[in-house]
């Protein structure tokens, strides 16, 4: 579908995710692509992005891509090395602007499943569960979800709501007791970038990656995706961004070879 691309889909995802982060704000990141996106943002437009890790690392100067959100790279030359209680409390108290999550499945309200495929007690496939995902999705002001998209992953109803999106629609998060003004902000897949419709809280296509059509998006979704009137095309990674990505992940651990 795309013309001969000089970048990989993973590189595109990392660059698009990185551009969503703002200078002078804080972000809770997981390892892999989220970490790469945050490190790239620091090296480009957001040098003062405060990176926080759920295991206790606060404001590290990350030397190479960490394998775990708790390994020593997550508090390398950091401003703080504290505890999960400390950073999760800060997050619950409103200090964290952005949170990054992955997902095995998502529905049209941004509810995420990372727990189980099939029945909980007799699963077809057992996944790791929430980890910090439910917490990040509950506490951060804006949650960004990075995932692969196809009909089995973009589904009408997720098998298990691990992490809250907008639950059943407008007002549902607040009614459940979750903090007001929080929730999923963007979903980034190999096809495009989605936001959530203000009135209905349903997933809405905001941008297509180069060479992708609205039909491709619909064909890879198990529900009807709303489409923004001012649909745009994402900017592909520049050579400089690609060079920085190699610098951040020299072994290709998350970005690929």
């Amino acid at each position: 579908m795309a013309e001969e691309a000089t970048y990989t889909p993973t590189e595109l995802l990392a660059c698009v995710a990185s551009k969503l982060l703002e200078d002078g704000k804080s972000v809770f990141v997981g390892t892999g692509l989220p970490m790469i996106a945050a490190m790239l943002a620091q090296r480009t437009h957001a040098p003062n992005l405060l990176i926080i890790f759920e295991a206790g690392g606060i404001g590290p100067i990350v030397p190479v891509l960490p394998i775990s959100v708790g390994d020593s790279r997550t508090f390398y030359r950091a401003v703080g090395a504290s505890s999960m209680h400390d950073v999760m409390s800060a997050c619950q108290n409103g200090y964290v602007d952005y949170g990054f999550l992955g997902a095995a499945m998502i529905d049209q309200y941004g509810n995420i499943n990372t727990t189980v495929i099939g029945d909980h007690d007799h699963p077809t496939a057992r996944l790791p569960g929430s980890g910090g995902a439910n917490d990040i999705g509950s506490f951060c002001w804006k949650t960004i979800i990075l995932m692969r998209q196809d009909r089995r992953r973009f589904v009408k109803k997720v098998d298990f709501i691990t992490t809250p999106g907008y639950l059943s629609g407008p007002g549902a998060r607040e009614a459940a007791g979750l903090a007001g003004g929080t929730g999923p902000y963007r979903v980034i897949t190999q096809l495009g970038v989605y936001g959530f419709d203000e009135a209905t809280k349903r997933l809405k296509l905001l941008a297509l990656h180069p060479g992708v059509t609205v039909e491709d998006v619909q064909a890879n979704s198990g529900f009807e995706v709303l489409v923004a009137d001012d649909l745009i095309t994402t900017t592909p990674p520049t050579p400089e961004e690609r060079r920085l990505l190699r610098e951040i992940d020299p072994t290709g651990m998350a970005i690929g070879k």
Partner: protein, 339 residues
């Protein structure tokens, strides 16, 4: 308080606070005494069949692996484990058949390395049961309530999700704000094991780097086994008391095990042994492979130092120290298998 919803997950590790206080009064010594013993003795005395166990650290970081291997060597059965970012520890304990019940925050995965074949297979075939779900902060605050001697802690997570529905938490109407709020129950595991860089013979322990959940877990657990890279003089502790993150009176056993977190990382000392973790991930794809791993690394060696020889001895350990200090690049065989 008005109860609005109850999770259907099994409540594990919870005691009435008065009962727990009395248990502590009767069973936890406040006397400064030498608690050094071997890992075999510590496991034999403090880990019993059917116990609810919790492991310190996070993922593959600062995990008391010598205790984990010893539990397998001694053949403990029907353990319930706190799946609090439990990764290699939980995977091999489930794989060995020691753990058959798990409360899950994060389990059955090795973070960036991929999912855990052995423990997933056990859950998918019914050999291991997930008795409750929670989240990382959910577990963290279960331990916080446990160390505070309270029955629960109010939190603003889990709400509205299936993670709550399968948890042991309760949603009530907050008497102050009038909004729904989640109450996570206290958790006091029967036994926890935590690996530290240094402690004295009484168990006063210091941790370098992040504490993760270990501050709370060490105080919440009924029994605590500390394994340590180094046993230092009491004076080292007393000269910098602000560095003591675990005080002696919560500790039951002190075990000196250099490299006791291997193949996990020990911050500032040695990095993950990616070669060893990859060998496990490869072998654990089949039940036969799981058996091969345990025969080789647990049953055929008498103790942890023999195990360290087997994994590559001083040459490998030197390499892991160099990688931790960023003086050598990390090489991971599992990277080849990624897309």
């Amino acid at each position: 308080m008005e109860v609005l919803r109850r999770g259907r997950g099994e409540l594990v590790g919870w005691y009435d606070p008065d009962e727990n206080r009395r248990w502590i009064q009767a069973n936890k010594s406040r006397e400064l005494r030498d608690k050094r013993m071997t890992v075999a003795e510590a496991v034999s005395r403090f880990v019993h069949d059917g116990d609810f166990i919790a492991s310190g650290g996070f993922g593959h970081v600062r995990v008391a692996m010598a205790v984990v291997y010893e539990i397998i060597r001694q053949g403990r059965k029907h353990l319930t484990m706190a799946g609090k970012t439990a990764v290699h520890d939980l995977d091999i304990l489930v794989g060995a058949g020691c753990v058959d019940r798990v409360e899950v925050a994060y389990s059955f995965g090795h973070e960036l390395r991929g999912l855990s074949p052995a423990s997933r297979r056990a859950v998918e075939t019914g050999r291991c049961r997930v008795v409750a779900e929670t989240s990382n902060a959910g577990y963290q605050w279960r331990f916080l309530a446990g160390m505070m001697g309270l029955p629960f802690i109010p939190t603003r997570n889990l709400l509205g999700t299936d993670t709550f529905e399968y948890s042991s938490a309760v949603v009530v109407k907050d008497p102050f704000s009038g909004k729904p709020i989640c109450l996570v129950p206290a958790c006091q595991p029967d036994v926890a094991f935590i690996h530290v860089p240094r402690c004295d013979k009484y168990g006063n322990a210091q941790i370098d780097g992040i504490l993760i959940e270990d501050f709370e877990l060490s105080r919440a657990a009924r029994r605590l086994i500390i394994t340590t890279e180094e046993i230092v003089d009491e004076e080292v502790i007393r000269s910098q008391p602000w560095r003591t993150s675990i005080p002696f009176f919560v500790v039951d056993a002190v075990v000196h095990v250099p490299y006791g977190a291997h193949p996990c990382e020990m911050p500032y000392l040695y990095f993950f042994d990616e070669e060893h973790i990859a060998e496990w991930l490869q072998l654990s794809r089949t039940d036969e492979g799981v058996q091969t791993y345990f025969d080789k690394y647990v049953h055929s060696v008498p103790d942890f130092s023999a195990y360290l020889e087997l994994i590559g001895g001083e040459k490998k350990l030197h390499y892991l120290r160099e990688v931790e200090h960023l003086r050598m690049p990390m090489v991971a065989p599992w990277m080849k298998n990624k897309e």
